[in-house]
Symmetry: C2
């Protein structure tokens, strides 16, 4: 029995070790149909720390949607100010989907709809970029 458990543990550990190599969308050998969905939000109360925190809390709820493979949330980085850099937004969400279909399903998902209903009063402008990985 102990032997069985040990084997089982090794098998599980190996699976755990291998899984990120398969699902990691950061690898250079990416799935060509993989979709990156990058959204930038400008708050009505631009620069409001309270509203920013509230929006970030709302964005975290989107992780419950199974089509959302990964979600990173961020704010403007303090990189060098250059003419080409747009650091005027307040909050950003960066999502990965397996394909266009996953993104379509996300758009009409009840959790996403609830997020828009509850938090859209916070922002005055949204810009979305959908990128298909080549």
């Amino acid at each position: 029995m102990q032997q069985y458990n040990r084997r089982k543990f090794i098998a599980q550990a190996s699976l755990l070790a291998a899984a990120p190599l398969i699902i990691n969308p950061m690898a250079n050998n990416t799935n060509a149909s993989q979709l990156v969905h990058h959204v930038f939000f400008w708050l009505k109360n631009a620069g409001s720390e309270t509203d920013r925190k509230q929006l970030i809390e709302g964005l975290k709820t989107l992780r419950a949607i199974k089509e959302v493979k990964q979600l990173l949330i961020g704010t403007p980085a303090s990189t060098e100010k250059r003419e080409v850099v747009d650091n005027s937004y307040d909050v950003s969400e960066l999502m990965y989907f397996d394909n266009v279909e996953g993104q379509n399903a996300y758009q009409v998902h009840s959790v996403h709809k609830a997020f828009v209903e509850k938090y859209s009063h916070l922002w005055e402008r949204v810009v979305v970029y959908d990128m298909l990985v080549v």
Copy 2:
């Protein structure tokens, strides 16, 4: 000895299993100083397949820069046309750095400078977003 090897293997497997949680920038438990650098290019010859391919080849050279932890290259996805979605760009690069310092080093790196020198005649407009993961 067999017992020792088994223990060693379990320890290694556990380490392997744990490592991606630390180094995988896609995980939800991200390094708070991690920087996402997302650049959108509009070609002078908008929609030119030849120029797009050439720019993509150029972007791939940036993987040689050690500060560039990951690089995804993409083109607009055929998601639903909505007012908030900007799908007018031709090519996009999405880079991950460990921190702001990594991005600063990248900006002045010779490989990056060579890329700008060789390929900047292809684009007429660039928009950059630098996002610090929270």
